[in-house]
Amino acid sequence: MKRSFVTLSVLVLLAALAATWGGREWSLSHVRYFTGRQDLGWVSCYNCHLVTLEDQPWAKPRPKHDSPAGLAVSPDGARLYVALDDRDQLAVVDVASRQIVQRVRVSGNPYGLALDPTGKRLFITCKGGDRVAVLDTKSLKEAESIEVGLMPAGVAFCETKSGPRLVVANSGSDDISILSLSPFKEIARPAAGREPYAVAAARGGELAMVACRLAAAVGLDAPPSSEVTVVNPGLGRVVSRESLDSAHLSEGVAWVPSRSWALTPLVKVRNLVPITQVAKGWVMSSGLAVSDLGGALIQMPLDEVNDYFADPSAIAVDAAGRRAYVASGGGDTVSVIDLERLAAWLAKAGEREKEEAIDDLTLSSEYVLARLPTARNPRQLALSPDGKTFFIAERLQDSVLAVNTETLQPLGRIALGDGGLSDPIRRGERVFTQAAHTFQRQFSCRSCHPDGHVDGLAYDFDGDGVGDNLLDNRTLQGVAGTMPFKWNGKNPSLEIQCGPRFARVLMRTDPIPPADLQDLTTFLQSQPPARTVHRSQQGKLTESQEKGREVFFATHQPNGTPIPRDRQCATCHRPPLFTNRLPSDIGTKGRYDTTNHFDTPHLLGIAASAPYLHDGRAKTLEELWTVYQTNDLHGVSSYMNKHQLNDLIEYLKTL
């Protein structure tokens, strides 16, 4: 009995071993056959199978929060309107009591607000709905709606000689909708810089300034620059395009009538300099562009030698032009700038001094009057018409802070929600936007990943050799389920990617504590892929996109020649995430790269993630195959004519 038991056990064990060994062998041959790659070892089934979009954390319902976005104060100062994009609501607040008197439903993620001078109409950009809604402020009913470009963010009302206009920054389609109000229609759609974000009227409405967040893709060694697009809203024409050299992430713009200044907060980035340190603004610092809209533009620093005020967002200027207020979303501060002192410095500074001002961290003490602490993530500002109060939207606190402009003391807080701390995604977003995790609070995760997306720049991390392995930043939107991370795929999880290694390489502080790290990764996983298709086009493929889909999934060239499996797009970019999460050699090793195998990126939202390849050398999707293709290693493209390449690109733009 015992013997048979032993024999049986041995046989079972041997069978199990055989099955395991056999299973492994089968698995290896299965993977090698279907990928065409003989270099692969054992690969988890989940790399290619059983993945669905519905299973991703970002596809699941999540708690909504009363995060304030745009603010607008009624002309009589009695009412404050607050856009609550996460809730699809507009909150109407009684300023005196600091209580919400009504919540109005506005579909499509209401984000930016602008009032007409009478206060009768409130114009609301709906970032998720790709539209502008007009609300009658008396009845609080939506009176009109018009389709604009993709993801409209900032909006401004301009009174022009040709009639009233609305200027809308379409952050997702890189253009500006200029609308006439009677009739309510779009009269022009000029191209802006990359990701136009904030709008302000200038010269009494004769001009409108649009600050654009991102820099255009420029290639490996060129310094980036972003744009402030100046338009004539009356005519719908572009008047000038101001270049902010080596600066980006502008989320606000303001006009100072008494000085004819355009002020744009910015982040001065030093992405071409190897990140050997963070101190002394080596990665980035915040600043303010001062422009006369006539060609003279000076960048002035806002940070200090030993402290930084990361992620400058909105700016507000008082009517007299004495003071500007700049919110620091990562530093939980509003900086108060004395414009008279700033003007005095500019008047006596020489040309060289002005040119180098942005790099002089000792300068801001000349004109920064005060740094007001706020609750988490101040993003938008509004001044009361009488100039006595200013309001700060504390986005991740679900509140708006009211401050007395004379004493600079808080008057009270308008509670829109409970702060959302029971939600790990909200807690994680707070970690994400918290500059305190980096040395001297210089930057936060958001500083390179605005809205969890990407700044489109390549950096030189020094940990692997100064000057080696230049890395294009990548989007974190849609990153769930696409492990491993790092350009060589060496970090198996977000926890490891954002853990001690990151503290060593970039943050230069202690690693994020475990509980915060957990919340951070929960937040990252909840970020859906970037949306690149206009609401009106979603759900349907055009003829070209359909043809492109066929090119993408092709197993044979049109002439019947088989495409080797390892070069079929869908092998490495396997749906639904469009990555098989394995490193590949696509012939793109650069002179200063220490590896030729790069982690396969996911393609969801790829159209919004320029530039491309591991070091960002390809400025557009076309260039992946027209310039940087080597021997058909990045998919077989040599047979394609321009029609087919265009179709493929059109398809990729739908992902």
């Binding site: 190897p274 340190q277 030698v305």
Partner: protein, 395 residues
């Protein structure tokens, strides 16, 4: 005071002829515990974020100025382990404090050969692993001895005395952390009396040790005070040198080290050797062709390590021995020295250290550009030590 406000560190000696060591005393009255056993003594203690003790050792001899490698340096010591050296300063490091951003701030001499007084000090910082040795505050035209630096919100205060006559009366002054290289503000000028220390008294006040009669007493002085009130504490039998508030304070920020301890080299990258505050008589900057790098030897001499070519944009990069004060001479095409800094800066093992220029203007950020030096093969400077050269970089 420890960040939790429950124990205090102090420097003391058990017997008159013992070396000064660091003790920790709990405020509940239990006996103080000796933390250090440094042969030359230890002084100026503080805690870094991970709870390690940092201090200066040895205690510099009065009137003497120790030099590398025996100069008083900053050490760190965890509860369990032995002390390890963080700094490799060419001259004595004297007083230290740990800043809120996690750096260790300490006073040491500029070491400038051109300074009026060789022992003139400035305030420098390092990370808690001894990397990124950087000037925090101090000017060549003010030859000072600096004691007891302390952080006060957005200011940094310390006690200063004249470097060429340190026994003369000392005074307290502060600089703004926003622009520490200028606009020093004197404290307690109305008191017209010697100061031995100043620390944060809470609620907009300072705790200062000021001369009262023939001894030092502790005063609490409001930041906007115009007159000195009565002393807070004065025991006429003793000099009451220093007082600290027994309250919790925020833990300094940490810094996970990027060192590679096994690697005996670090890297120096200079973005533009022609960016300098050393100008020719006509205000121009003579162009450097080569940088001659030296290391401070034990006998105080500068040992030649190697020459690095300067690229067209002024940049240069080289691997250099770690934990050794390094000096730099900028040479023109004929090999003439255009400008020089004595050996004061070190890099730690595996540290990549970059500068804007050669004795660059203070408080500046770099221009956004990719220096040519990072594209060239990396040289290793070892001087005549061929053995070390064999394990050079493979780049």
């Amino acid at each position: 005071m420890a960040p939790d406000g429950r124990s205090v560190l102090f420097v003391g000696k058990e017997k008159p002829d013992s070396a000064w060591q660091i003790y920790q005393a709990s405020l509940d009255g239990t006996a103080p515990q000796r933390l250090t056993s440094m042969s030359g003594g230890a002084m100026s203690p503080d805690f870094v974020s991970n709870g390690d003790l940092v201090f200066v050792s040895p205690v510099p001899a009065v009137g003497g100025d120790g030099s590398f490698p025996k100069a008083a340096s900053v050490f760190a010591q965890s509860r369990q382990g032995p002390p390890h050296r963080l700094t490799f300063n060419a001259h004595d490091a004297t007083d230290l404090t740990v800043l809120g951003d996690g750096r260790i701030l300490f006073a040491t001499a500029f070491g400038s050969t051109t300074a009026a007084v060789a022992s003139a000090q400035a305030l420098f910082t390092v990370n808690n692993d001894g990397t990124e040795f950087t000037l925090y505050a101090g000017r060549h035209d003010r030859a000072l001895r600096i004691r007891r630096p302390r952080e006060f919100g957005n200011r940094l205060g310390y006690v200063a005395s004249s470097a060429d006559a340190p026994s003369r009366e000392a005074w307290a002054e502060t600089v703004r952390s926003a622009r520490p290289f200028s606009n020093e503000e004197r404290l307690f000028a109305f008191a017209k009396t010697e100061c031995a220390s100043v620390s944060d008294g809470g609620g907009g006040t300072y705790l200062a040790s000021l001369k009262h009669g023939s001894t030092l007493a502790i005063y609490r002085v409001a930041t906007n005070a115009t007159a000195l009130g009565p002393a807070l504490f004065d025991d006429p039998a003793w000099h009451d040198i220093e007082a600290v508030l027994a309250t919790p304070r925020p833990q300094p920020v940490g810094h996970i080290s990027a060192m590679s301890p096994a690697k005996p080299f670090g890297t120096i990258l200079c973005l533009d050797a022609n960016r300098t505050s050393f100008l020719a008589a006509d205000g121009s900057v003579p162009k450097a062709e080569t940088i001659r790098v030296t290391g401070l030897a034990a006998d105080g001499s500068a040992k030649w390590l190697g020459n690095v070519p300067v690229h067209a944009d002024g940049s240069f990069m080289a691997e250099v021995p770690a934990d050794l004060p390094l000096g730099f001479e900028a040479l023109d095409a004929r090999g003439q020295v255009l400008r020089a800094t004595p050996p004061v800066v070190w890099v730690r093992a595996g540290e990549n250290r970059a500068c804007l220029g050669c004795h660059e203007p203070h408080g500046r950020s770099p221009r956004n550009h990719r220096p040519l030096a990072v594209r060239a093969p990396l040289m290793r400077l070892v001087g005549p030590d061929a053995k070390l050269a064999q394990t050079g970089s493979s780049r």
